[in-house]
Each structure stands twice: as structure tokens, then as C-alpha cells.
Symmetry: C2
Subunit: 404 residues, 2 copies
Amino acid sequence: MVMDWSERFSPYGRRAKASEIRELLKLLDQPDIISFAGGIPDPKLFPRQLMADVHAEIFADEALSNQALQYSVSEGYGPLRDLLVAEMKSLGITCTKDNIVITNGSQQGLDLLGRLFIGPDDKVLVARPTYLGLLQAFTASGPTYGDIAALTGPAPVRAKLAYAMPDFQNPSGETMTLAEREALLEGARRSDLMVIEDTAYNKLSFDGPLLPSLMELDIAREGDIENSRVIYCGTFSKSVVPGLRVGWIVAATPIVQKLVLMKQASDLHTSTLAQMTLAKVMECLPAHHADTLCDTYRPRRDAMVQALEEFMPEGVTFTRPGGGMFIWVELPEGFDGAALLARAIAEERVAFVPGSAFYATQPKLNTLRLSFSATAPEKIREGIRRLGALIAREHNGMSRAATA
Amino acid sequence: MVMDWSERFSPYGRRAKASEIRELLKLLDQPDIISFAGGIPDPKLFPRQLMADVHAEIFADEALSNQALQYSVSEGYGPLRDLLVAEMKSLGITCTKDNIVITNGSQQGLDLLGRLFIGPDDKVLVARPTYLGLLQAFTASGPTYGDIAALTGPAPVRAKLAYAMPDFQNPSGETMTLAEREALLEGARRSDLMVIEDTAYNKLSFDGPLLPSLMELDIAREGDIENSRVIYCGTFSKSVVPGLRVGWIVAATPIVQKLVLMKQASDLHTSTLAQMTLAKVMECLPAHHADTLCDTYRPRRDAMVQALEEFMPEGVTFTRPGGGMFIWVELPEGFDGAALLARAIAEERVAFVPGSAFYATQPKLNTLRLSFSATAPEKIREGIRRLGALIAREHNGMSRAATA
């Protein structure tokens, strides 16, 4: 007898659904497709030789390698947390090791935070559009969602927490101004909400220094990280490598203590070897590594912006990000990003992510996310040219249909 | 203003509590303590040179190392899943790659399974005592618990699933007989329950071959893994190294598909490099590696059993495991393992884990878990001698108090 498993799943098990992005990542394997789909770092930027040297160094030392291969504590490898204290200091945030827990990339940080804070009737405020991974992680707790823009209105908002990616947001590429940051925090105080600050792309600032983080601004006002309502999620995925799955959370100690217990229950600890490796990489990576990343990605951003200006028909708008990996495109009303993707792949061999996946509620179907991170400028230009031609054809067809 | 975080936590956040084991692991750092506390593999048994060679090999190849450091798919590295299909075949279980998802050790497997199946009103059947990590992982879903022994009674049991570690159980060291396995499965069929089979210690069989796994027995009866109600959790933590955090789940494809979605939402994927490393280690590790492990741990088991027979006062009983890492001790009524631990550390410099942590409900306070895995035989003998002396002193004191 074949069992009917679906009847046995928990409410979360039933809610868990396949993501469009994931299905799309498979398209990257087809070599004739120009893919703007995944937010994938260019592997040429991985500090491969340094990683090789660091592993060789660890394995040359018996005690060190035994430690690297053994169980370790759930809060994370001490020297890595020490280095992150210094890193946070350089970002204007004073904290101690006890304010830091290591996670499997920032995705696990979001998963643990959702489980720590969100009960079944809680509301979470997110941007429109917002990061898909946040929506996936929070599916476990099944909150309702509201628009984070409501926070800056005059009335308090009844919600549990707000989630924001202030720098070079995935998917929009947009950066919050200093005034917007202050207004978000002011709104969070008025409504007594916590704020999760996702800083995944903050090393990829192409046009100048970063603005102060939400956590830095909140600590400046509240006097101490222990009084801050901001919870900071960091990751090595965009600044070093994503494959080792190492990130971190910075927060007031009562939060970190709970996260450590939950981390222990969910997978004991992040790979000891991966943590030791990233600690040594942090010590040895040249200071100009971030410049190297930006010097590679900036011309790709420039090429994409220029090509969009040149090839997109009238009525198409798009963002001009100051960093990160993404540009957000809005098409005229009536377009459907998912239908366009099917034609883009079939007719033009170009891929992207339909924007609807990035909305917690009421998706705008006429939107797309384009990533410029993994494609050379000439290929970006060619891909946008093809995409622009397809959109122009579709648009003309729609106009004719409307007039007919 | 200092924020009151505890009011903001979810029901799970409030339930998450510190574990005694975790606090005790810190004692291992004090060199004069003889610790039988953690279930830690002996690092001398790590295939350190092979791991070093495998890493060097991966980093010598540009394409391979770029792949190792890049994002990868949530279900896990294909070649590792292929090798695990062969490994499962050698264990009598026929499955395909689609029946396997890679997890961060079996602990994450348990976490994902709890979240997939357990809703708030569900009941889970566990042994008395049972694995602490299962109880921690399932805290997220907050089930009620029943005794797995009820499954073999005449009446059906109303519950969602049963959890069992049939070989060299943590913490008891006990192995289920073939008749007990068949009875458990028969009971699970009668009550229409799923069964999670945790095989963490199955490479550590000191005295002969393993009995058939629950999954093998169930497939033999149901004809195909797709019809099996058993979900198999495996790990490299005891057979290779624990520090890389790599394990796997084997189950019917509808379950694996859901687990892949949940894995993606919780941390995208397990470290690509760690998975590639373990795939190469599986290919290169000599077939006699498991014998090497057993040849090291067997004399430790023997030394501990012998010392317990020699030094424990009358009224103390203990298990005689055929493998694994643990012996379970029951003291006379009136003893409290936690109180004994405090005195054992202070007076005898010996550590263990009080048994009460291993009960889902109604803990038996007069129990202890002793691990023999990380201590040389002579030191085991000395530690048990000291512990026996302490227990005898306490017991005499209790008897005098009772007579007085």
C-alpha cells in the first residue's frame, strides 16, 4: 500500500512549497543561456589560493586539525567570534563575543530568528518587494505580513518585528537613505517592534562608503547593544565564499543565548573546519579584497544600467543600485514576469527571476529581478538587448490588442 | 531602557532550555578530570592524512574548488548521494538518489523531521531513556510523549510517530533484538505510525555483524522504499568525523521532496566543500576503517564493564553494550545523578551525564550515562574505581540514615 504522506505532514510541512528561484538555478547549467537569475558570486573572485593555503596550514598541525574535525560549541569558534567583534567595531558597532552566534550563512540566522520570535498570530513587516529567503525561512512560523512603509506613518503599527536590508537590497538593489533609516527606527520605537537588519551585500558598495547601519544608529541612540532593538545578520557568502555556509548574528545577549540553544537543537554547531578556515581567511585576506569585488561587479552594474537605458522600450522603469548584485525592473501594467520568462528562455535564451516571488502579499506581476554579478559586461549587454527586444515585441502586441 | 526580551519570544523560544550535557562538555577542558560525559569520538581515529590529501586534491583543481566554494543544491552534492545509495545497498536497503537528502549531521535530520511531521497536538513515542538530541530537536514543535513500549501491547496507540535507535542506543548502549524490531514495526503498522530510525552508532559494532535495520525489515515486508513507513537517519559523525556536520536522511520520495524544501528554507544547503570532502573520503577510506574504530573502542568498553563489575557496590546495575559509546548505570533508589555528579567532580574528579536528561517524561533520577569512547582503558578503570568508591560511600551514608 502506498502511504498518503501529505496527510501526515505538520501545518508547516504542508505550507512548505517549491521556490521559483530554485527551479531557475537549474537553468544556469545550460551554457547557451544568458542568466540574470541567481544572485551568485563570480567564482573567479573566490580567494582560492588563500583557502587552499589555510586548509593546508590547518591540516599540517595535528592538534589544530583534530580540533577542526571534532565537535565544537554551538555559539561558534571563539577566535572567529573575536574577529567578528573587531569587524563589527570597524562598522561602528561595539559588542562582545557574547553578542555573537555563528550560523550556517545568514539564511540560518533568519530561520532561527523566525523560530525564536514568531508565534502563529504574529505580524511581520517587510518591504515590497522583500528578500525571498526571509519569506521562505519564516514560512515555518506562518506569520501574517504587513508593509514596512506603514512604520513611518503617524500611527503605531501592531506587529512583532520588521525586516529590512538597508544596503543594496535583494531584490530591488535599493539603499535606504539616512533619513529613511532614522524614520524606520523611530517607527520601530513608536510601535515597540524589533528590527532584523540583513547586511548580506554590505561589502559590495560600488560608489562610496556605506551609510551607518540600523544597529549603529540604534546603539547611538540607546547607548548600548544590550538596549538595542536591532538584530544584525551578517554573512561571508558575498564577501568571501558562499559554499562553506558561514554567517553570524549580532544582538543583545539574552537573544544570543536563546539562539545558541536553538542552534544546538537544530544542528549542534556550524562546521568547525569551516569556521576555523574563515577565521584564518579574515586574518589573511588583504584589505583591498572588497575593492577587488567592487572593481569586478561595478562595470557589470554599469553595463546593465546602460543597456537597460538603451534597449528597454518606453514604460519600463528600473533601479540604479549603488552596489550589490541586483537591478529591479518594472514593466508596463499587463505584463506577467513568469509568462515573460518562459518566452525569454524559449525565444531569446535569457533568464531572470519573475518579481512576484519577492512579495509577501499581493505580488506585482509586472516585475523582474536581474542579477549582474555572474555575467561579463558584453554578455550583459547582449542579454539585455535580447530581453529589451522581446519586451518591445510583447508590448507592441499588447498595444495592438488593446486598440483592436 | 533595557528591553524585556523574554516577553517577545515565541512559544518555542520560551521552551528552549539549556542542556545539562552542553554545560558538562565544558568540563572536558579541565585536564585532571576523568570525563565519561560527552559522546565524543577519539580524534586519534580521524582519518586526518586522508582529509588533508582530499582537501589538497580539491584545491589543486580550479573547477572543482570553485564548485566546492560556491552555492549548491539543497538536496545535496550528487556524487555523495550516489555513494550513499551504494552504502545503503550494502546495508540491505535499495533506494535511489531521490530518496536521499543531505543534512548537517543527523541532528539537523531530526530537527527537519520534527518540523515536517509534528504539529502542536501530536504525540511521539520514545524509549525510556531516549536520545537527548531528539528531545531538543522536537522541542521546536512541542509534542507530547509516550513510551514506545506501548506499541508492542495489544491495543493500537494514538500517536504520530515513533523514534528508535536500534543499535547501541545513546544513552543506554542497548541493541534491539530481531524480535523486538519486528514487534516495533508490527506495532507501528497496527497503529499506523511513522518510525524514525537513528543509526548514528551502527559502524561501531564490536562483537559481530549488525542485525537488519528497521528500514530493511520494513521494505522486505512492504516491497519498496516508497511504501515504507520508516525514515532512516545516518551520519558521518561517528564513522568518519563529526566536525564537518554531514549526515543524511533516507525516506520515500514525497518525504525527501518536502525535506529538501525545508532544508532550503533553513540554511540553503550543507557546506559544498564538506560534502565533496566526504564523498572523496567515502571513496578512499580503507574498508577496514570501521575495524580500526572497533578495535580502539572495544577494549574501552571491556575495561569499563570489567571495572563496573569490580568496583560498583551491590544494588548498582549497568548495561553491557555490543558497540557504540555508552554504558547506562542504574543506582539504588534514592540516588540523584545530578547531586552525585556535583560530588563526583568535587571529590573524585570524575564526570558523567546524569540520566534524568534522557527522559521525555518522569525522569528516573537514579541513573547515569557513562561514555567510554574518549578515554584510555587504564584511565577508565581508575575513573570507575573512584566513582564506585563515591557511590559506596553515599550508599552507606543513605543506609545508615535509613536505619537511624
